[in-house]
Symmetry: C2
Subunit: 414 residues, 2 copies
């Protein structure tokens, strides 16, 4: 038992040199390795390590939030990320970094280094095509959700994972507070542009919005449909010219599938609201539809072909009711959409007025223009919460209408 | 570590003599104790032990189903019963036997012996008043469900219990198969009077019934609202002149609160269908309403007064939407009722045509009369599954209509 110590680049070399399998992947000796810290998230340390014959990525939890050392936090979050990666990697081959090692004393996860990848957030901000990765992500959520759900296996196979991931209370608390609670109450973690004061006050005073947030809180905590990623925003996705990988599963938990879908949709919608380039808006709209359609068709395909041994909605039980089976499946997917639209709205709200805000509006210099664009994003979210859209077409149509700023708005550089 | 051995009366004495605290409750020495086996359930051994100064009840799991030694079963079910008892006893004081000891090697639970109590099933079959115990049971379900739910505490307090009880896979499998699956498919465990053949075939061929059963299966496995008893029929309740106690929590799991409510309602409804005594039917109808009304008012009262520290539906979040908070609470209770009516129906069906049948019809000698009464019970259940009743009044009204046998039916002794 070695006491936990926070790694620095030298510490990373020591750590890897002591682990033969990992050291062999790098080749040579510790003095031949280069270590680069790339931590850019809020929570953890991330190092990339380059050796003569290979590379590695090393991630370690800190005993506090990385960007706020006063906010203390247990170390176990990399244990949940490691467990998530080991569970999901075989279900969605080639769509995560390869898991290599987890050290439960140092809380260090070692995984494949994604060379030549950037985060989807960065790629999108530079104008990358959003459609192709959205198709892959729709398939990823369908596979990882379906294959960890009660629709794919007997409940006995779900029980150990449900039990284990319910222990991920630290990061679930972050979601419950930062995403689903704080934006709707006074809290020192909230902040926003003064020009949005009236909008925030109106949102909080709207009983329909509060009621929907309440219902979403309940869905989040009491609907363990599948193992979720739990933080599927564009910073948790890395892309290269040809590939997409989902990283950072430390928020993983059993929950409503619409939560993962909603977070992804939220970030596309925010990017849409943040630009006034019409072609870009169209590409992002197409990406939203592509994500959702791929999710639906892949999920339904898996349901029809890979439900062996499951307890729920089995073809045997439904042998006299095949039509009802189709109806129930469609009803389930509609429920996922309903959840997704709600959670997307909550994610948009929190990225505008909560603790960890989106960088999508950072390119807008003029504060008035920035506030105008944030206002339309907020009003789209409030609209979704007030009155749930029936389907993805209604969702994108509202996005178009709500974020179509009047032409009097001063143009900004995109 | 002592290897597991099945107890007999002598073994019970040995077991208790070796445990000072327990032996002292009985007083005297082992030779002064009387042991009486009272096992009458399907699964376990139960012994009552009488000593000069006290009594005990000793329950041990067998490595198989008690009434079917070929049906092998893990021993851990008394561990879940013990955990349930320890969790629920302080939440519903005086409504369970007192927990005294659990031996995890012998799988022996020792608890207070309920002297002068009989099962509610036995009491009802002898004409006992069903209303007073139903009021107490409504309060019991309200307290045990509310106080273990996300409405009463932060989710971090729920997580360890959710994790632990999700391990109760053996008995959850019994529920999934025997209650929610087998009756709707060919299975050697099913059996029924030949006169019901056409009714069973019609039930299985009805797509609406199959669809509702499918939805109930999903609710059961993916709606962890509260810690359930999991088998709350009249044989899991003991009553004396003045007291009610809930026993036998070995099926406990996190699930939809309507499951506990539904099982209790089912057994009152079956008793109603099994008698043709009008006054008795009225008393049972009143008991059904009393149970449900007490559950609702107690649950809502707790929600308004004991929700401190919870994450869901907090008065702080809803300070601008008090009316919506009331609406959401009422909506939640309606959802519990909807579940309860469905699970009640499933329980009635399985007690008529599945593995472990009810004894309520045993007093009817004439097979035709018996089949007629079972048929009305079955048709009431099918009616509930086909078309959900809106509220408890609709539930009891249908029970009255569906089980009101035409007067041509041959009378039987009650
Ligand atoms: N396997 C990898 N290969 C290459 N780079 C990676 C890898 N994993 C993470 N990174 C880089 O490290 C950065 C931080 O990683 P990650 O998002 O997992 O950290 P985090 O602190 O948990 O973030 P958050 O606060 O969003 O939870 C990523 O943005 C990415 O640039
Ligand atoms: N604490 C107690 N005091 C007195 N008698 C008890 C007590 N607990 C159980 N009994 C008696 O033992 C019988 C069997 O108990 P119980 O229902 O717990 O057993 P079981 O085998 O688990 O039943 P099931 O098959 O319904 O799960 C009861 O019907 C009751 O008569």
């Amino acid at each position: 038992m070695t006491a936990y110590r926070t790694l620095d680049p030298e510490g990373v070399k020591h750590f890897l040199a002591a682990r033969r399998d990992l050291a062999e992947r790098l080749g040579g000796e510790a003095q031949d390795w280069t270590v680069r810290e790339v931590s850019d998230g809020n929570l953890n340390l991330v190092f990339l390590v380059f050796g003569p014959s290979g590379t590695l990525c090393v991630k370690q939890s800190l005993p506090h939030v990385r960007v706020d050392p006063d906010w203390k936090m247990p170390l176990d979050r990399t244990a949940f990320e490691a467990a998530w990666l080991r569970r999901i990697e075989p279900l969605a081959p080639g769509l995560t970094p390869a898991f290599l090692d987890f050290d439960p004393e140092q809380f260090v996860l070692t995984m494949e280094c994604l060379n030549g990848f950037v985060t989807l957030r960065e790629a999108l901000s530079k104008g990358a095509d959003p459609i192709a990765p959205s198709r892959i992500l729709g398939g990823f959520v369908a596979r990882s959700a379906f294959l960890t759900s009660y629709f794919a296996q007997p409940f006995e196979a779900v029980a150990p994972d449900l039990a284990f991931f319910s222990g991920n209370t630290t990061l679930t608390r972050i979601t419950v507070d930062l995403v689903l609670t704080d934006p709707y109450r006074e809290h020192p973690r909230n902040h926003w542009l003064p020009a949005l004061d009236a909008d925030v006050a109106a949102m909080r005073a709207d009983p329909r919005i509060i009621a929907r947030i309440g219902a979403l809180q309940e869905r989040f905590l009491t609907t363990p449909q599948a193992l979720l990623h739990g933080d599927l925003h564009s910073g948790s996705i890395m892309i290269s010219d040809r590939d997409v990988r989902v990283i950072d599963g430390e928020f993983s938990l059993y929950g409503p599938i619409g939560f993962d879908c909603g977070l992804y949709l939220a970030h596309l919608a925010v990017a849409h609201a943040a630009t006034n380039d019409v072609a870009r808006k169209e590409a992002l709209t197409a990406a939203i539809r592509t994500f959702w359609r791929t999710f639906c068709s892949d999920f339904l395909y898996l349901w029809k072909t890979q439900a062996n041994g499951a307890d729920l909605y089995t073809p045997t039980t439904f042998s006299n009711a095949p039509h009802e089976l189709d109806t129930l499946r469609a009803h389930f997917i509609s429920g996922v959409f309903h959840d997704a639209a709600g959670f997307a709205a909550a994610e948009i709200v929190r990225r505008l007025i909560g603790y960890a805000q989106t960088s999508d509006f950072d390119h807008i210099q003029d504060e008035q223009s920035k506030a105008d664009r944030q206002r339309v994003a907020l009003s789209f979210a409030c609209d979704l919460l007030r009155d749930a859209p029936a389907d993805i077409d209604a969702f994108t149509e509202r996005l178009r209408q709500d974020t179509d700023l009047p032409s009097t708005t001063s143009p900004e550089t995109t």
